[in-house]
Symmetry: C2
Subunit: 341 residues, 2 copies
Amino acid sequence: MIKIALDCFGGDNSPGANVKAALAALEKNSELYIILTGDEANLRAELENKSFDADRLEIIHAPEVITGDDKPTEAIRQKKNSSMMAAIDLLRTDETVTGMVSVGATGALIAAATLRLGRLEGVIRPAFCPVLPTMNGGVVGICDSGATVDCTSLMMSQFAVMGSVYLQSAFGVETPRVALLNVGSEEEKGDKLRKETFPLLKQEKSINFVGNMESRDLLTGKYDLVVCDAFAGNVLVKSTEGACLEMLKMLKKNIYSNWKYKLGAALQKKMFDHIKEFMNYQNYGGSVMLGTRKTVVKGHGSSNARAIEVCIEQVCRAETSNMNEKITRLLCEKQNMTGAF
Amino acid sequence: MIKIALDCFGGDNSPGANVKAALAALEKNSELYIILTGDEANLRAELENKSFDADRLEIIHAPEVITGDDKPTEAIRQKKNSSMMAAIDLLRTDETVTGMVSVGATGALIAAATLRLGRLEGVIRPAFCPVLPTMNGGVVGICDSGATVDCTSLMMSQFAVMGSVYLQSAFGVETPRVALLNVGSEEEKGDKLRKETFPLLKQEKSINFVGNMESRDLLTGKYDLVVCDAFAGNVLVKSTEGACLEMLKMLKKNIYSNWKYKLGAALQKKMFDHIKEFMNYQNYGGSVMLGTRKTVVKGHGSSNARAIEVCIEQVCRAETSNMNEKITRLLCEKQNMTGAF
């Protein structure tokens, strides 16, 4: 039995989409047990007239909601009775619960997971690892992209190991090509942190390090995992998303400016649907916290039921593939060998 | 008279486009004097049968060429007789030469300008400032985006002042909206460097600081200048360019997959021409080195003659608007007030 918590509030389509996702996941996986957190009356109303295995579904009443407007560190202290903190507390106190999914405020979730869950043995700092689709139909993970802005090279080398294990576990990439985000491809490039990190990655036997990567190559499909500090990772992910979005907006604006362009676009409708589907983050699952004692998956705030279900599947896959055990084993082995930190 | 050096080699269309640009600029501006650097026989061949004012054009013979494959610091030491280093040397030794343009290797040019030209009085470190077009038809400068990867907050506050003066001088933006690149919009966000820089920018009276900017907003037109260290700046610029490029490639690939899409695209031909023109860096001029004793403008490697001419105009505008004097005055005033460094 895999027991997970599902934060049912904080998303654009919450709690309806969250509850729908839970029921769909339970239906598909008879080994799954889900604990919904959030306002009980609200959740019961969503469950009404739905058929599900009541022995594998539970509700924990937590009426508060953490929003994007809340300051993360204040929210996790003050909104103790929120759906998000109820799920985090469950992970913290109940050893049988292996992970959680949330589509709520990212900052608060990262802070709560980092400060409340504790780290896996051997892990110096946790990392937040989103994935983006690449042009050749694969995905690329960006690790760290949210948890640790001030990094050391040792932390960076751990991000490489954790991210690599994650891509194997969650996406079945056998030998992930790991790259260091840098300002040029040559070995000696970069700032102090990159210059210190490069040799550590080069000598790290448990990963397939392929060298430096320039940010312009993120979506090309040449790499499976990009290693960076959370500051650079945030810049990388958000500028890529921002540029794609602005390009689409510009196209749309131009198309609507003229009947001929509109007619052209009508002929291309299927193509644009295909491109939209390709760029739809909902197909690729959520971002995962790596290095925390339990698996936390963060889905996009505007996730629909299907996207949340993909996130639930991600938590299950992390569990069945023993992702966290593997991370701990690799990092502890290394420390035993080197006597590091 | 404005006297400038033009490195005539190292670009995809060199030396033909460079020489053509020089002649066009001389034709338009009777106050301009240009010194071409590069292989003399080659340059003379390009000038043959062209009409120009020979009193305002000069050639310095420098047969070597620095390429993108050369390591920057080695190249500037070993290729002393290159077109790029000849131009740099001219700036260094001839006080009457006010600036230069190059479309050669970026890394070598930044290194040469930084190491050989010396800094303006008051400047701790020079910065490299490219501009990108924004969706509302303006431009946004990114400062620093190439010169100084390991920064202090004091350097960052100088980048803000220099970039702001540059946008006023070169683009006529009266009160540039200056933002700090960060992982969120709230004041307390970011790593150590950002947390130290924010209050400095807030109290800097010579700029219009509008707060933190997330990288996804780069192209929206909400900001005129983004302040960052060169590592983050490089990630920002290259991931934005990379994402736009990959999007266009994907569109193209999809369009060619089906006759209906191709027909649609035929109807939209003018629209795509318009978008391409909008995204054409050649229309926006080159990237400028700020804080060096002379103005160095770097055009794109694939610049045509018109793009190089725009770069020449940029150097002239920096001179006529007294950009460097203004930078020195602002930075020295500040140091006299605060007694900083």
